[in-house]
Protein backbone atom coordinates (compact mmCIF):
# COMPACT_ATOMS: atom_id res chain seq x y z
CA UNK A 1 0.00 0.00 0.00
CA UNK A 2 3.01 2.28 0.46
CA UNK A 3 3.87 4.40 -2.57
CA UNK A 4 7.47 5.13 -1.61
CA UNK A 5 9.10 3.72 -4.72
CA UNK A 6 6.85 5.22 -7.35
CA UNK A 7 6.79 8.87 -8.34
CA UNK A 8 3.62 10.61 -7.17
CA UNK A 9 1.21 10.92 -10.05
CA UNK A 10 -0.93 14.06 -10.26
CA UNK A 11 -4.59 13.28 -9.85
CA UNK A 12 -7.52 15.30 -11.07
CA UNK A 13 -9.12 17.37 -8.32
CA UNK A 14 -11.57 15.42 -6.19
CA UNK A 15 -9.98 12.02 -6.73
CA UNK A 16 -8.40 10.58 -3.60
CA UNK A 17 -4.86 9.33 -3.99
CA UNK A 18 -3.63 6.19 -2.28
CA UNK A 19 -1.68 8.43 0.07
CA UNK A 20 -4.85 9.91 1.52
CA UNK A 21 -5.51 8.83 5.07
CA UNK A 22 -8.43 6.50 5.55
CA UNK A 23 -10.32 9.16 7.50
CA UNK A 24 -10.65 11.25 4.35
CA UNK A 25 -11.07 8.55 1.76
CA UNK A 26 -14.08 6.35 1.14
CA UNK A 27 -13.72 2.93 2.72
CA UNK A 28 -10.60 1.34 1.32
CA UNK A 29 -11.55 -2.23 0.43
CA UNK A 30 -8.43 -3.19 -1.46
CA UNK A 31 -7.31 -5.68 1.18
CA UNK A 32 -10.61 -7.57 0.75
CA UNK A 33 -10.04 -7.84 -3.00
CA UNK A 34 -6.65 -9.39 -2.30
CA UNK A 35 -7.63 -11.72 0.54
CA UNK A 36 -10.72 -13.04 -1.19
CA UNK A 37 -9.28 -13.40 -4.66
CA UNK A 38 -8.62 -16.95 -5.93
CA UNK A 39 -4.89 -16.10 -5.92
CA UNK A 40 -4.67 -15.69 -2.15
CA UNK A 41 -2.73 -18.71 -0.84
CA UNK A 42 -5.49 -20.51 1.09
CA UNK A 43 -5.95 -23.18 -1.56
CA UNK A 44 -9.68 -22.52 -2.00
CA UNK A 45 -9.58 -24.10 -5.46
CA UNK A 46 -9.00 -27.53 -3.88
CA UNK A 47 -12.37 -27.60 -2.06
CA UNK A 48 -15.84 -28.02 -3.56
CA UNK A 49 -17.93 -28.08 -0.35
CA UNK A 50 -19.30 -31.43 -1.61
CA UNK A 51 -20.49 -29.93 -4.85
CA UNK A 52 -18.47 -32.64 -6.59
CA UNK A 53 -20.85 -35.25 -5.15
CA UNK A 54 -23.91 -33.22 -6.14
CA UNK A 55 -22.64 -33.23 -9.72
CA UNK A 56 -22.06 -37.00 -9.51
CA UNK A 57 -25.68 -37.59 -8.43
CA UNK A 58 -27.08 -35.24 -11.08
CA UNK A 59 -28.44 -32.79 -8.53
CA UNK A 60 -26.27 -30.24 -10.34
CA UNK A 61 -26.30 -30.78 -14.10
CA UNK A 62 -26.69 -27.36 -15.73
CA UNK A 63 -26.56 -23.64 -14.97
CA UNK A 64 -30.07 -23.58 -13.46
CA UNK A 65 -29.52 -26.44 -11.01
CA UNK A 66 -26.13 -25.00 -10.11
CA UNK A 67 -27.66 -21.61 -9.35
CA UNK A 68 -30.33 -23.28 -7.19
CA UNK A 69 -27.81 -25.32 -5.21
CA UNK A 70 -25.51 -22.33 -4.59
CA UNK A 71 -28.51 -20.24 -3.57
CA UNK A 72 -29.55 -22.93 -1.05
CA UNK A 73 -26.06 -23.00 0.45
CA UNK A 74 -25.86 -19.23 0.76
CA UNK A 75 -29.24 -19.09 2.51
CA UNK A 76 -29.37 -22.35 4.49
CA UNK A 77 -26.03 -24.14 4.21
CA UNK A 78 -22.45 -24.01 5.38
CA UNK A 79 -21.72 -20.61 3.79
CA UNK A 80 -24.61 -19.00 5.70
CA UNK A 81 -23.37 -20.36 9.02
CA UNK A 82 -19.88 -19.21 8.05
CA UNK A 83 -21.18 -15.70 7.43
CA UNK A 84 -22.69 -15.67 10.93
CA UNK A 85 -19.39 -16.85 12.42
CA UNK A 86 -17.46 -14.24 10.45
CA UNK A 87 -19.70 -11.48 11.80
CA UNK A 88 -19.25 -12.61 15.41
CA UNK A 89 -15.47 -12.90 14.99
CA UNK A 90 -15.34 -9.42 13.45
CA UNK A 91 -17.32 -7.87 16.32
CA UNK A 92 -15.32 -9.63 19.04
CA UNK A 93 -12.06 -8.47 17.44
CA UNK A 94 -13.35 -4.93 16.96
CA UNK A 95 -14.39 -4.65 20.61
CA UNK A 96 -11.29 -6.54 21.81
CA UNK A 97 -13.51 -9.01 23.66
CA UNK A 98 -11.11 -11.94 23.92
CA UNK A 99 -13.58 -14.21 25.71
CA UNK A 100 -16.18 -13.71 22.99
CA UNK A 101 -13.56 -14.29 20.32
CA UNK A 102 -12.40 -17.51 21.97
CA UNK A 103 -16.02 -18.70 22.03
CA UNK A 104 -16.45 -18.03 18.30
CA UNK A 105 -13.15 -19.74 17.52
CA UNK A 106 -14.11 -22.83 19.49
CA UNK A 107 -17.62 -23.03 18.07
CA UNK A 108 -16.42 -22.54 14.49
CA UNK A 109 -13.82 -25.29 14.80
CA UNK A 110 -16.44 -27.77 16.06
CA UNK A 111 -19.30 -26.72 13.80
CA UNK A 112 -18.90 -29.27 11.02
CA UNK A 113 -21.23 -32.07 9.92
CA UNK A 114 -18.50 -34.23 8.39
CA UNK A 115 -14.75 -34.76 8.33
CA UNK A 116 -14.07 -33.03 5.01
CA UNK A 117 -16.13 -30.01 5.95
CA UNK A 118 -14.02 -29.50 9.06
CA UNK A 119 -10.82 -29.99 7.07
CA UNK A 120 -12.01 -27.53 4.41
CA UNK A 121 -12.60 -24.72 6.86
CA UNK A 122 -9.61 -25.34 9.16
CA UNK A 123 -7.05 -25.78 6.37
CA UNK A 124 -8.13 -22.57 4.67
CA UNK A 125 -8.37 -20.72 7.97
CA UNK A 126 -4.89 -21.67 9.14
CA UNK A 127 -3.45 -20.82 5.72
CA UNK A 128 -5.26 -17.48 5.71
CA UNK A 129 -3.90 -16.55 9.15
CA UNK A 130 -0.33 -17.56 8.21
CA UNK A 131 -0.33 -15.61 4.96
CA UNK A 132 -2.04 -12.57 6.43
CA UNK A 133 0.16 -12.31 9.53
CA UNK A 134 3.22 -12.14 7.27
CA UNK A 135 1.97 -9.90 4.49
CA UNK A 136 -0.59 -7.78 6.36
CA UNK A 137 0.75 -7.74 9.91
CA UNK A 138 -1.36 -6.49 12.78
CA UNK A 139 -0.91 -6.71 16.57
CA UNK A 140 -4.39 -8.25 16.79
CA UNK A 141 -3.39 -11.09 14.49
CA UNK A 142 -0.17 -11.62 16.44
CA UNK A 143 -2.13 -11.89 19.68
CA UNK A 144 -4.37 -14.66 18.33
CA UNK A 145 -2.31 -17.57 19.75
CA UNK A 146 -2.75 -16.07 23.24
CA UNK A 147 -6.53 -16.22 22.83
CA UNK A 148 -6.91 -19.61 21.16
CA UNK A 149 -4.43 -22.46 20.90
CA UNK A 150 -6.42 -24.48 18.36
CA UNK A 151 -6.90 -24.26 14.62
CA UNK A 152 -8.83 -21.39 13.08
CA UNK A 153 -11.89 -21.79 10.87
CA UNK A 154 -11.75 -19.86 7.60
CA UNK A 155 -14.62 -17.36 8.11
CA UNK A 156 -13.37 -16.57 11.60
CA UNK A 157 -9.87 -15.92 10.24
CA UNK A 158 -11.30 -13.51 7.65
CA UNK A 159 -13.47 -11.76 10.25
CA UNK A 160 -10.54 -11.26 12.62
CA UNK A 161 -8.22 -9.93 9.89
CA UNK A 162 -10.89 -7.59 8.53
CA UNK A 163 -11.58 -6.09 11.95
CA UNK A 164 -7.85 -5.87 12.69
CA UNK A 165 -7.38 -3.80 9.54
CA UNK A 166 -10.45 -1.62 9.99
CA UNK A 167 -12.42 -3.09 7.09
CA UNK A 168 -16.19 -2.67 7.41
CA UNK A 169 -18.18 -5.76 8.39
CA UNK A 170 -20.90 -5.52 5.74
CA UNK A 171 -18.43 -5.26 2.87
CA UNK A 172 -16.33 -8.07 4.34
CA UNK A 173 -19.34 -10.36 4.57
CA UNK A 174 -20.42 -9.57 1.02
CA UNK A 175 -16.92 -10.12 -0.35
CA UNK A 176 -16.55 -13.35 1.61
CA UNK A 177 -19.84 -14.85 0.42
CA UNK A 178 -19.16 -13.74 -3.11
CA UNK A 179 -15.76 -15.44 -3.05
CA UNK A 180 -17.32 -18.65 -1.69
CA UNK A 181 -19.97 -18.57 -4.42
CA UNK A 182 -17.35 -17.88 -7.10
CA UNK A 183 -15.27 -20.81 -5.90
CA UNK A 184 -18.28 -23.16 -5.99
CA UNK A 185 -19.26 -22.00 -9.45
CA UNK A 186 -15.70 -22.34 -10.71
CA UNK A 187 -15.68 -25.93 -9.42
CA UNK A 188 -18.97 -26.65 -11.18
CA UNK A 189 -17.77 -25.14 -14.46
CA UNK A 190 -15.05 -27.79 -14.47
CA UNK A 191 -17.15 -30.65 -13.12
CA UNK A 192 -20.48 -30.45 -14.97
CA UNK A 193 -18.93 -29.08 -17.26
CA UNK A 194 -20.39 -25.67 -18.05
CA UNK A 195 -19.29 -22.97 -20.47
CA UNK A 196 -17.56 -19.88 -19.10
CA UNK A 197 -20.54 -17.77 -20.10
CA UNK A 198 -22.92 -19.94 -18.09
CA UNK A 199 -20.54 -19.74 -15.15
CA UNK A 200 -20.34 -15.97 -15.37
CA UNK A 201 -24.10 -15.59 -15.67
CA UNK A 202 -24.59 -17.80 -12.63
CA UNK A 203 -22.09 -15.77 -10.64
CA UNK A 204 -23.77 -12.54 -11.69
CA UNK A 205 -27.13 -13.91 -10.57
CA UNK A 206 -25.67 -15.02 -7.25
CA UNK A 207 -24.67 -11.48 -6.28
CA UNK A 208 -28.30 -10.60 -5.61
CA UNK A 209 -28.52 -13.54 -3.20
CA UNK A 210 -25.35 -12.36 -1.46
CA UNK A 211 -26.87 -8.89 -1.08
CA UNK A 212 -30.00 -10.39 0.46
CA UNK A 213 -28.12 -12.73 2.78
CA UNK A 214 -25.64 -10.27 4.32
CA UNK A 215 -28.21 -8.37 6.43
CA UNK A 216 -29.77 -11.69 7.54
CA UNK A 217 -26.44 -13.13 8.69
CA UNK A 218 -25.72 -9.96 10.68
CA UNK A 219 -28.74 -10.63 12.90
CA UNK A 220 -28.14 -14.23 13.92
CA UNK A 221 -26.93 -14.89 17.49
CA UNK A 222 -24.47 -17.75 17.98
CA UNK A 223 -27.17 -19.81 19.71
CA UNK A 224 -29.11 -19.81 16.43
CA UNK A 225 -26.18 -20.80 14.28
CA UNK A 226 -27.20 -23.32 11.66
CA UNK A 227 -29.21 -24.06 8.58
CA UNK A 228 -31.17 -26.81 6.91
CA UNK A 229 -28.90 -28.17 4.18
CA UNK A 230 -29.42 -31.87 4.98
CA UNK A 231 -28.59 -33.03 1.47
CA UNK A 232 -25.47 -30.88 1.25
CA UNK A 233 -24.28 -32.34 4.57
CA UNK A 234 -24.95 -35.88 3.38
CA UNK A 235 -23.13 -35.01 0.13
CA UNK A 236 -20.08 -34.00 2.20
CA UNK A 237 -20.11 -37.46 3.78
CA UNK A 238 -20.65 -39.26 0.49
CA UNK A 239 -17.82 -37.34 -1.14
CA UNK A 240 -15.36 -39.11 1.17
CA UNK A 241 -15.85 -42.33 -0.78
CA UNK A 242 -16.52 -40.86 -4.21
CA UNK A 243 -14.51 -43.00 -6.61
CA UNK A 244 -13.15 -40.31 -8.91
CA UNK A 245 -12.41 -37.04 -7.16
CA UNK A 246 -10.79 -33.83 -8.26
CA UNK A 247 -11.48 -31.97 -5.03
CA UNK A 248 -10.52 -32.50 -1.40
CA UNK A 249 -14.08 -31.85 -0.20
Amino acid sequence: MSGDAAPERRLPAGVASSQTTSAEAPADLLALFVWLSPAYPVGAFAYSHALEWAVETGDIRDAATLAGWVDDLLRHGGPFADAVLLAHAWRATETEDDAALAEVLELASAFAPARERQMETLNQGDAFISATRLAWPSPRLDRLPDIWAGRVAYPVAVGIAAAAHGLPLGATLGAYLNAVAANLISAAVRLVPLGQTDGNRTLAGTTSTVRAVVPLALQVPLDRLGGAAFRSDIAAMRHETQYTRLFRS
Binding site: P113, F230, Y243
Partner: protein, 297 residues
Protein backbone atom coordinates in the same frame (compact mmCIF):
# COMPACT_ATOMS: atom_id res chain seq x y z
CA UNK B 1 -41.48 -46.47 17.18
CA UNK B 2 -42.76 -44.12 14.54
CA UNK B 3 -46.48 -44.26 15.21
CA UNK B 4 -47.99 -41.19 13.66
CA UNK B 5 -51.63 -42.07 14.28
CA UNK B 6 -52.74 -40.58 17.55
CA UNK B 7 -55.40 -41.76 19.98
CA UNK B 8 -56.55 -38.21 20.60
CA UNK B 9 -56.11 -34.83 19.07
CA UNK B 10 -55.63 -32.00 21.54
CA UNK B 11 -55.88 -28.51 20.13
CA UNK B 12 -53.09 -26.49 21.65
CA UNK B 13 -54.72 -23.19 20.85
CA UNK B 14 -57.57 -24.03 23.22
CA UNK B 15 -55.29 -24.71 26.18
CA UNK B 16 -55.26 -21.72 28.49
CA UNK B 17 -51.85 -20.25 29.30
CA UNK B 18 -52.05 -21.15 32.99
CA UNK B 19 -52.45 -24.83 32.16
CA UNK B 20 -49.37 -24.97 29.99
CA UNK B 21 -46.90 -27.42 31.31
CA UNK B 22 -43.50 -27.63 32.72
CA UNK B 23 -41.68 -30.90 33.03
CA UNK B 24 -38.37 -31.36 34.71
CA UNK B 25 -36.56 -34.60 35.19
CA UNK B 26 -33.25 -35.43 36.81
CA UNK B 27 -31.84 -38.95 36.64
CA UNK B 28 -28.54 -39.95 38.16
CA UNK B 29 -26.96 -43.35 37.75
CA UNK B 30 -24.06 -44.92 39.62
CA UNK B 31 -21.96 -48.00 39.07
CA UNK B 32 -21.98 -50.52 41.94
CA UNK B 33 -20.26 -53.90 41.76
CA UNK B 34 -20.24 -53.96 37.99
CA UNK B 35 -23.91 -53.00 37.66
CA UNK B 36 -25.56 -49.63 37.20
CA UNK B 37 -28.10 -48.46 39.76
CA UNK B 38 -30.38 -45.48 39.88
CA UNK B 39 -29.28 -42.67 42.12
CA UNK B 40 -31.14 -39.43 42.72
CA UNK B 41 -34.31 -39.11 40.65
CA UNK B 42 -36.41 -35.96 40.55
CA UNK B 43 -39.68 -35.75 38.66
CA UNK B 44 -41.81 -32.68 38.32
CA UNK B 45 -44.67 -31.49 36.13
CA UNK B 46 -45.44 -33.82 33.24
CA UNK B 47 -42.02 -35.54 33.39
CA UNK B 48 -41.78 -39.08 34.72
CA UNK B 49 -39.23 -41.86 34.43
CA UNK B 50 -39.53 -45.63 34.81
CA UNK B 51 -36.82 -48.25 35.07
CA UNK B 52 -38.64 -51.27 33.67
CA UNK B 53 -37.65 -54.78 34.72
CA UNK B 54 -37.77 -55.75 31.07
CA UNK B 55 -35.02 -53.23 30.46
CA UNK B 56 -32.59 -54.77 32.93
CA UNK B 57 -29.36 -55.76 31.36
CA UNK B 58 -26.09 -57.19 32.42
CA UNK B 59 -24.44 -53.84 33.10
CA UNK B 60 -26.61 -51.00 31.93
CA UNK B 61 -29.64 -49.38 33.48
CA UNK B 62 -32.52 -48.58 31.16
CA UNK B 63 -34.54 -45.44 31.81
CA UNK B 64 -37.80 -44.84 29.99
CA UNK B 65 -38.96 -41.23 29.94
CA UNK B 66 -42.66 -40.49 30.03
CA UNK B 67 -44.45 -37.26 29.21
CA UNK B 68 -47.79 -37.51 31.05
CA UNK B 69 -49.03 -34.54 29.02
CA UNK B 70 -48.94 -36.67 25.87
CA UNK B 71 -46.83 -34.15 23.96
CA UNK B 72 -45.76 -30.54 24.01
CA UNK B 73 -48.07 -27.62 23.30
CA UNK B 74 -46.93 -24.08 22.60
CA UNK B 75 -45.39 -22.63 25.76
CA UNK B 76 -44.58 -26.01 27.34
CA UNK B 77 -41.10 -26.40 28.72
CA UNK B 78 -39.37 -29.76 29.07
CA UNK B 79 -36.04 -30.17 30.79
CA UNK B 80 -34.20 -33.48 31.10
CA UNK B 81 -30.97 -33.83 33.03
CA UNK B 82 -29.13 -37.15 32.89
CA UNK B 83 -25.99 -37.83 34.90
CA UNK B 84 -24.00 -41.04 34.50
CA UNK B 85 -21.34 -41.17 37.22
CA UNK B 86 -17.95 -42.78 36.61
CA UNK B 87 -18.32 -46.23 35.00
CA UNK B 88 -22.14 -46.08 34.99
CA UNK B 89 -23.96 -47.32 31.89
CA UNK B 90 -27.30 -45.82 31.07
CA UNK B 91 -29.68 -46.38 28.18
CA UNK B 92 -32.34 -43.68 27.92
CA UNK B 93 -35.37 -43.87 25.70
CA UNK B 94 -38.95 -42.60 25.66
CA UNK B 95 -42.24 -44.38 26.12
CA UNK B 96 -43.72 -42.90 22.97
CA UNK B 97 -42.94 -40.57 20.11
CA UNK B 98 -42.81 -37.00 21.39
CA UNK B 99 -45.46 -34.92 19.68
CA UNK B 100 -45.03 -31.18 19.26
CA UNK B 101 -48.49 -29.74 18.67
CA UNK B 102 -49.52 -26.76 16.62
CA UNK B 103 -48.85 -23.59 18.57
CA UNK B 104 -50.90 -20.45 18.89
CA UNK B 105 -47.60 -18.56 18.78
CA UNK B 106 -45.82 -19.50 21.98
CA UNK B 107 -42.60 -21.50 21.72
CA UNK B 108 -42.24 -24.96 23.19
CA UNK B 109 -38.83 -25.48 24.71
CA UNK B 110 -36.93 -28.73 25.08
CA UNK B 111 -33.60 -28.86 26.89
CA UNK B 112 -31.58 -32.05 27.22
CA UNK B 113 -28.49 -31.99 29.38
CA UNK B 114 -26.32 -35.11 29.53
CA UNK B 115 -23.13 -35.79 31.40
CA UNK B 116 -20.99 -38.89 31.56
CA UNK B 117 -18.06 -39.40 33.92
CA UNK B 118 -14.88 -41.39 33.43
CA UNK B 119 -15.54 -44.68 31.69
CA UNK B 120 -19.28 -44.00 31.71
CA UNK B 121 -21.68 -44.62 28.88
CA UNK B 122 -24.94 -42.98 27.86
CA UNK B 123 -27.05 -44.21 24.97
CA UNK B 124 -29.60 -41.46 24.37
CA UNK B 125 -32.10 -42.96 21.97
CA UNK B 126 -35.58 -41.50 22.29
CA UNK B 127 -38.33 -42.48 19.91
CA UNK B 128 -39.10 -39.99 17.15
CA UNK B 129 -40.10 -36.41 17.68
CA UNK B 130 -43.13 -35.64 15.51
CA UNK B 131 -43.45 -31.98 14.66
CA UNK B 132 -47.04 -31.05 13.77
CA UNK B 133 -47.70 -28.40 11.17
CA UNK B 134 -47.72 -25.02 12.92
CA UNK B 135 -45.60 -26.21 15.84
CA UNK B 136 -43.05 -23.80 17.24
CA UNK B 137 -40.26 -25.50 19.12
CA UNK B 138 -36.75 -24.75 20.23
CA UNK B 139 -34.59 -27.66 21.35
CA UNK B 140 -31.15 -27.76 22.89
CA UNK B 141 -29.05 -30.87 23.40
CA UNK B 142 -25.92 -30.35 25.47
CA UNK B 143 -23.53 -33.01 26.64
CA UNK B 144 -20.37 -33.01 28.66
CA UNK B 145 -18.42 -36.24 28.76
CA UNK B 146 -15.10 -37.46 30.11
CA UNK B 147 -12.24 -38.19 27.70
CA UNK B 148 -12.84 -41.96 27.84
CA UNK B 149 -16.64 -41.90 28.18
CA UNK B 150 -18.97 -43.02 25.43
CA UNK B 151 -21.99 -41.09 24.25
CA UNK B 152 -24.46 -42.24 21.62
CA UNK B 153 -27.13 -39.83 20.43
CA UNK B 154 -29.94 -41.03 18.18
CA UNK B 155 -32.50 -38.35 17.38
CA UNK B 156 -35.12 -39.06 14.70
CA UNK B 157 -37.45 -36.22 13.71
CA UNK B 158 -40.56 -36.49 11.55
CA UNK B 159 -41.84 -33.24 10.10
CA UNK B 160 -45.63 -33.40 9.96
CA UNK B 161 -47.95 -36.34 10.53
CA UNK B 162 -46.93 -37.96 7.30
CA UNK B 163 -49.34 -40.91 7.68
CA UNK B 164 -52.21 -38.49 7.18
CA UNK B 165 -50.44 -36.50 4.49
CA UNK B 166 -49.62 -33.56 6.73
CA UNK B 167 -46.46 -31.54 6.06
CA UNK B 168 -44.65 -29.17 8.39
CA UNK B 169 -45.48 -26.11 6.29
CA UNK B 170 -45.08 -23.32 8.76
CA UNK B 171 -43.97 -22.83 12.31
CA UNK B 172 -40.53 -22.93 13.79
CA UNK B 173 -37.96 -25.57 14.59
CA UNK B 174 -34.62 -24.58 16.04
CA UNK B 175 -32.29 -27.32 17.17
CA UNK B 176 -28.92 -26.77 18.81
CA UNK B 177 -26.37 -29.48 19.65
CA UNK B 178 -23.23 -28.80 21.68
CA UNK B 179 -21.06 -31.75 22.72
CA UNK B 180 -18.04 -31.29 24.96
CA UNK B 181 -15.45 -33.94 25.65
CA UNK B 182 -12.91 -33.38 28.39
CA UNK B 183 -14.01 -29.74 28.52
CA UNK B 184 -13.49 -29.07 24.81
CA UNK B 185 -16.30 -28.48 22.35
CA UNK B 186 -15.93 -31.28 19.79
CA UNK B 187 -19.26 -31.23 17.97
CA UNK B 188 -21.71 -28.45 17.32
CA UNK B 189 -24.70 -28.48 15.03
CA UNK B 190 -27.73 -26.32 14.38
CA UNK B 191 -30.98 -26.67 12.49
CA UNK B 192 -33.00 -23.58 11.67
CA UNK B 193 -36.43 -23.97 10.10
CA UNK B 194 -38.67 -20.95 10.02
CA UNK B 195 -40.97 -19.06 7.67
CA UNK B 196 -42.21 -20.85 4.55
CA UNK B 197 -40.84 -24.18 5.71
CA UNK B 198 -42.50 -26.37 3.04
CA UNK B 199 -40.87 -24.31 0.31
CA UNK B 200 -37.52 -24.35 2.11
CA UNK B 201 -37.60 -28.13 2.55
CA UNK B 202 -38.44 -28.67 -1.11
CA UNK B 203 -35.08 -27.25 -2.16
CA UNK B 204 -32.50 -29.62 -3.58
CA UNK B 205 -29.67 -28.91 -1.13
CA UNK B 206 -32.03 -29.00 1.88
CA UNK B 207 -34.45 -31.94 2.12
CA UNK B 208 -35.66 -32.39 -1.46
CA UNK B 209 -39.22 -32.46 -0.09
CA UNK B 210 -38.64 -35.37 2.27
CA UNK B 211 -40.01 -35.25 5.79
CA UNK B 212 -37.95 -37.45 8.08
CA UNK B 213 -34.39 -37.04 9.21
CA UNK B 214 -32.08 -38.25 11.94
CA UNK B 215 -28.62 -37.65 13.23
CA UNK B 216 -26.76 -40.46 14.99
CA UNK B 217 -23.62 -39.35 16.75
CA UNK B 218 -21.21 -41.61 18.56
CA UNK B 219 -18.46 -40.02 20.63
CA UNK B 220 -16.17 -42.72 21.95
CA UNK B 221 -12.49 -43.67 21.94
CA UNK B 222 -13.20 -46.34 19.29
CA UNK B 223 -15.84 -44.39 17.32
CA UNK B 224 -13.78 -43.73 14.19
CA UNK B 225 -12.91 -47.40 13.80
CA UNK B 226 -16.58 -48.27 13.25
CA UNK B 227 -17.07 -46.22 10.12
CA UNK B 228 -16.65 -49.05 7.65
CA UNK B 229 -19.18 -51.30 9.38
CA UNK B 230 -21.70 -48.48 9.58
CA UNK B 231 -21.33 -47.65 5.89
CA UNK B 232 -21.79 -51.32 5.04
CA UNK B 233 -24.90 -51.54 7.24
CA UNK B 234 -26.42 -48.58 5.41
CA UNK B 235 -25.59 -49.99 1.99
CA UNK B 236 -23.09 -47.25 1.18
CA UNK B 237 -20.13 -48.08 -0.99
CA UNK B 238 -16.74 -47.86 0.60
CA UNK B 239 -14.78 -46.09 -2.11
CA UNK B 240 -12.60 -48.92 -3.32
CA UNK B 241 -12.87 -49.69 -7.05
CA UNK B 242 -13.99 -53.29 -6.47
CA UNK B 243 -16.64 -52.20 -3.98
CA UNK B 244 -20.19 -52.94 -5.16
CA UNK B 245 -22.47 -49.96 -5.89
CA UNK B 246 -24.76 -48.45 -3.23
CA UNK B 247 -27.69 -50.53 -2.11
CA UNK B 248 -29.59 -47.71 -0.41
CA UNK B 249 -33.38 -48.00 -0.51
CA UNK B 250 -35.04 -45.55 -2.91
CA UNK B 251 -36.73 -43.66 -0.08
CA UNK B 252 -33.58 -43.04 1.94
CA UNK B 253 -30.46 -40.92 1.70
CA UNK B 254 -27.62 -41.49 4.10
CA UNK B 255 -24.06 -40.54 4.81
CA UNK B 256 -21.51 -41.40 7.45
CA UNK B 257 -18.29 -39.75 8.48
CA UNK B 258 -15.76 -40.07 11.27
CA UNK B 259 -13.24 -37.65 12.69
CA UNK B 260 -11.82 -36.46 15.98
CA UNK B 261 -13.01 -39.47 18.01
CA UNK B 262 -16.54 -39.25 16.62
CA UNK B 263 -18.77 -41.03 14.15
CA UNK B 264 -21.70 -39.17 12.64
CA UNK B 265 -24.51 -40.54 10.51
CA UNK B 266 -27.08 -38.38 8.75
CA UNK B 267 -30.27 -39.88 7.43
CA UNK B 268 -32.95 -38.29 5.29
CA UNK B 269 -36.04 -40.27 4.36
CA UNK B 270 -39.35 -39.77 2.67
CA UNK B 271 -41.13 -40.65 5.93
CA UNK B 272 -40.66 -42.51 9.20
CA UNK B 273 -40.56 -46.15 8.10
CA UNK B 274 -37.34 -46.13 6.05
CA UNK B 275 -35.76 -43.88 8.65
CA UNK B 276 -36.53 -46.35 11.44
CA UNK B 277 -35.23 -49.28 9.40
CA UNK B 278 -31.96 -47.47 8.71
CA UNK B 279 -31.52 -46.52 12.38
CA UNK B 280 -31.92 -50.17 13.39
CA UNK B 281 -29.30 -51.23 10.86
CA UNK B 282 -26.82 -48.64 12.14
CA UNK B 283 -27.45 -49.54 15.79
CA UNK B 284 -26.82 -53.18 15.03
CA UNK B 285 -23.54 -52.27 13.33
CA UNK B 286 -22.58 -50.19 16.34
CA UNK B 287 -23.07 -53.19 18.58
CA UNK B 288 -26.16 -51.80 20.29
CA UNK B 289 -27.73 -55.22 20.21
CA UNK B 290 -30.02 -54.40 23.11
CA UNK B 291 -32.37 -51.92 21.47
CA UNK B 292 -34.81 -50.74 24.15
CA UNK B 293 -37.68 -53.17 24.58
CA UNK B 294 -40.15 -50.35 24.37
CA UNK B 295 -39.23 -49.85 20.73
CA UNK B 296 -40.67 -53.26 19.96
CA UNK B 297 -44.10 -52.49 21.38
Amino acid sequence: MFATELPFEPVAASIPIERRGQGRLVVEAHARDGRTQRGRVEESGFARVRFPLSGRRAHALEAVLINTGGGLAGGDVSQTIIRAADAAQLVVTTQAAEKIYRSDGALSRIAVDLSAGAGARIDWMPQSTIVFDGARVERSIAAEIAADARLLLVEPVILGRTARGERFRQGLLHDRWRIRRNGRLVYADGLQLEGDIARLLDRRATAGGWAAFATLLLVAPDAEGRLQEVRAALGLRDGSPEDPPDTLPANLEAGASAWDGMLSVRLLARDGAPLEAAIRRVLAALGVADIPRIWHS
